[in-house]
């Protein structure tokens, strides 16, 4: 047994035949069956379930199967043995009688009864620590920025101490990836790919009224939005969180790096946004044109106790791009704000919640005549907050 463990380094499975007790079984190795199948199931976000199948020779009567490991971290209580060739409870079935755990060493011994001498295929499964996994993505958008090639990569870092020789790595996205991964090795697989996936490009700004950015203008982010559904060529599985690098196709057929961000975990039918960089060709200035009290109420000492607040916000937007652009302004509001007047014409508004309103503002391209100034588009929003307590 000791010799076998040294050779096998990490995991050893040994069959000892017709030995009277567990202790003896551990010193009377007869066979070391090879792995017939080895699967590494990585569908759980952070647990790795290993299962391996082996053919062992059982003698009639009681047999002892010794399973030990060194240099790897196995959740001992997760270890499970299945008898695949002769399962069940009938008289012909092989049966597990008990499992013995020796003191102070990572090992266990199954006591198995077989009604006759025969070969039994067994499956041993267990949770193994030290297999890191992470997803990453590449998005290559076309020159029109309407579609993209979507690639999902799966990276496996094997620091488990175990060498996986032609193991089937199982993830939800694809067929089993049969690879050899040595301990200490990291491998990256292309797990999923979709060409011509529709993407939507957005300009989004969340003005901070307290930042006083003034003439500098608000920060506008360039965002790609994708949706994990069938219409977008996805939707077959949840997208795990991962770093996403976005490349853009150039007219000469090359690509350039546009930026990167973390794609959040995105369930089926959910959308995800990837903010990539700051937009410089669209300028938006937010001005508070008025913030006054109305309907003031005083106590007998002429102290203000309550009032209504009326706020007038103006956005001034210039589009220096040679194409029509849509800017989404996400305005934070007091929860009690009642929206009053909003500019119309090229503006759609949606109260996403009591504290947030979205204004999608469509801007024409800059004038073709370079001598003309770019027009400043003004959008006004007036809201009222009733019964503010002083």
């Amino acid at each position: 047994m000791n010799t076998v463990r040294t050779l096998a380094a990490a995991l050893a499975l040994a069959s000892a035949l017709a030995v009277p007790n567990a202790a003896a079984a551990r010193t009377k190795l007869v066979t070391l069956p090879g792995r017939a199948t080895l699967v590494v199931n990585l569908q759980h976000p952070n647990q790795s379930l290993i299962y391996e199948e082996r053919d062992i020779t059982l003698q009639r009567g009681t047999n002892h199967i010794d399973f030990s490991w060194q240099g790897v971290s196995i959740d001992k209580d997760s270890i499970r043995l299945e008898l695949l060739s002769h399962p069940g409870d009938g008289p012909e079935a092989s049966k597990i009688i008990n499992v013995a755990f020796p003191p102070n060493e990572p090992a266990l011994t199954w006591q198995i009864f077989s009604p006759e001498a025969r070969t039994e295929r067994i499956r041993v499964s267990y949770l193994l620590s030290g297999i890191g996994r992470q997803f990453s993505y590449e998005l290559t958008v076309d020159t029109a920025e309407r579609t993209a090639r979507f690639q999902q990569y799966f990276q496996l870092s094997n620091s488990s101490g175990e060498n996986f020789d032609r193991a089937a790595f199982r993830i939800a996205q694809t067929d089993d990836l049969v690879r050899t991964v040595q301990s200490g090795e990291t491998r990256r697989f292309l797990a999923f790919e979709k060409a011509d996936m529709p993407v939507r490009k957005l300009y989004i700004t969340r003005p901070d009224p307290y930042a006083n950015r003034g003439e500098e203008g608000e920060i506008i982010s360039m965002v790609y939005e994708l949706r994990n559904d069938e219409a977008h060529g996805l939707g077959a599985f949840k997208l795990d969180a991962g770093k996403t690098r976005v490349f853009g196709a150039t007219p000469d057929g090359d690509t350039i790096f546009l930026g990167e961000n973390w794609l959040p975990q995105t369930a089926t039918a959910e959308e995800a946004q990837l903010p990539l960089g700051t937009v410089k060709d669209v300028v938006l200035k937010r001005r508070t044109m008025d913030d006054r009290r109305e309907n003031e109420r005083f106590n007998i000492h002429r102290r203000l106790v309550a009032y209504d607040r009326v706020v007038h916000v103006r956005y001034e937007i210039e589009n220096f791009k040679d194409a029509e652009s849509v800017v989404r302004v996400i305005e934070s509001l007091p929860a009690e704000a009642e929206i009053g007047e909003v500019s119309t014409g090229g503006v759609t508004t949606k109260r996403k919640s009591a504290e947030e309103m979205h204004l999608d503002i469509t801007l024409p391209p800059r004038p073709a005549d370079a001598t003309q100034d770019v027009p400043v588009r003004e959008v006004n929003v007036v809201y009222r907050v009733r019964n503010v307590l002083n």
Partner: protein, 452 residues
């Protein structure tokens, strides 16, 4: 205890029982060993809630006429000396237990004096409390690919760290919360203590444990397996029985419980337990995550219900549709009485999302006092709870929300249940790849408007 049966423990002198003949005066340390009586049977009853094992063994002793002294000693093992008891298996007027004493300057030794009216043989039973034997239940639960059925594989694992090995021991496991005034291991380390305190300790232990253990013993003896030797080929049957407030798992035949080893005894698996998949959103318990559950009951409808199930760790997996299994969760589950629910917490699968929103807020009905100050008002909020189901099946979900103060619902689009004064609960089904929105208006009365 195992009384020096194995060679290893014979040399280690873990525990020894000696019959000392004709010792008319106080025990001398150098008195020769006369006989080492053979052990007839050993039985261990291992409790789960405390580090407590009731060890009971019977031996046949041959007595000389007159006073006989039985010396019992142990080393490297934790025995509560106050718990040691001896009794005649079949009471006889010819043999009488006179007393027990703990020799001075001799640790871990007790000597019983038995008076025999004639020379002859009698069977004695010795019991004691030992420390270091524990057991645990764990369960492998594997769902089918559709998550409609579950296969349950219970296992009972005994760990022996007592310093003593037990061979061919009848083994019983006790489920239930037992009361101990002092830990057995502490009593064992402390050794024998002054008489007045020892008596009290013994009384307390006797009340708390021994009587219950005796009840257990009586019941278990009646269902003892017939012949341990004949039972070699099959997985051990684990016979269950209720005893008072406890539940007893008796393992068929006998077991070798080697010191330092653990031993797992699989209980027969239960196939095709129908399960329900459901979700819960409860910020107080799970934060902002939606948690998935497998639910079933410990009853006959679910192919269970014959006995309560001990607490233990569940390793939950499901068929991965490719001939293997995928790991779902490792979750601790409490003791489940017959008829009670199992709720296996699988964590969040990321496929069901809940979003909370306030769509409109208003402060109204201001109340002014005589000085013109605001002394009360009502906060109104139109709220929405959007539940999005990315799975391909209809999912039942339980949603809980908590509110403080003098609050009420003005309107709600779905039936809800008021659990207590601060908790509202919805139980609804969400269609596959769809969403459901719960909406309601929350009125919170403040200041003078509040009545509670």
């Amino acid at each position: 205890m195992k009384f020096a049966r194995s060679r290893r423990h014979w040399t280690a002198a873990a525990a020894a029982l000696a019959l000392l003949l004709a010792a008319p005066v106080a025990l001398q340390a150098k008195i020769d060993l006369v006989t080492l009586p053979a052990r007839d049977e050993t039985q261990v009853t291992i409790y789960k809630s405390e580090d407590l094992t009731l060890v009971r063994e019977t031996r046949s002793l041959t007595f000389d006429e007159g006073k006989n002294e039985i010396q019992f000693s142990w080393a490297n093992t934790l025995i509560d000396p106050t718990s040691l008891q001896i009794r005649l298996v079949k009471p006889s007027p010819d043999f009488r237990i006179l007393d027990a004493h703990y020799p001075a300057n001799t640790a871990n030794t007790i000597v019983w004096t038995i008076e025999a009216a004639r020379e002859g043989q009698a069977q004695v039973e010795i019991t004691c409390f030992a420390s270091g034997l524990t057991w645990q239940a764990d369960y492998k639960a594997i769902a089918n690919a559709d998550e409609t059925y579950l296969r349950l594989e219970p296992n009972f694992t005994i760990f022996n760290r007592s310093g003593e090995s037990f061979e061919n021991a009848r083994t019983r496991l006790v489920v239930g919360e037992i009361n101990l005034t002092e830990a057995v291991a502490d009593l064992a380390r402390r050794g024998i203590i002054p008489v007045e305190k020892a008596a009290e300790t013994r009384r307390q232990l006797g009340r708390a444990v021994m009587e219950r253990s005796d009840m257990v013993m009586f019941d278990a003896m009646s269902m003892a397996p017939a012949a341990a030797g004949a039972f070699l080929a099959e997985a051990k049957e684990i016979v269950k029985a209720a005893v008072s407030e406890y539940y007893l798992y008796s393992i068929a035949g006998t077991e070798d419980l080697e010191d330092g080893w653990g031993k797992q005894l699989p209980d027969p698996r239960i196939d095709e337990i129908p399960i329900d998949v459901s979700y819960e959103f409860d910020p107080a318990k799970y934060g902002d995550r939606v948690v998935k559950f497998y639910k079933f009951k410990n009853n006959s409808e679910h192919k269970l219900g014959e006995q309560p199930m001990p607490e233990g760790v569940f390793y939950v997996a499901s068929d991965d549709g490719k001939g293997g299994t995928r790991f779902q969760s490792r979750t601790q589950h409490k003791y489940v009485p017959i008829g009670e629910d199992y709720e296996l917490n699988l964590g969040s699968d990321g496929l069901v999302l809940v979003e909370l929103r306030t769509m409109r807020a208003e402060r109204r009905d201001l109340d002014f006092d005589s000085a013109g100050d605001v002394r009360g008002w009502i906060d109104l909020a139109d709220r929405e709870i959007e539940i999005r189901n990315s799975t391909t099946r209809t999912i039942p979900i339980k949603v809980r929300q908590y509110f403080q103060g003098d609050w009420s619902f003005d309107k709600a689009n779905t039936t809800y249940k008021r659990v207590d004064q601060s908790t509202i609960e919805w139980e609804i089904d969400v269609p596959p790849l769809d969403k459901t929105t719960l909406s309601f208006t929350l009125l919170t009365r403040q200041g003078s408007r509040a009545s509670r």
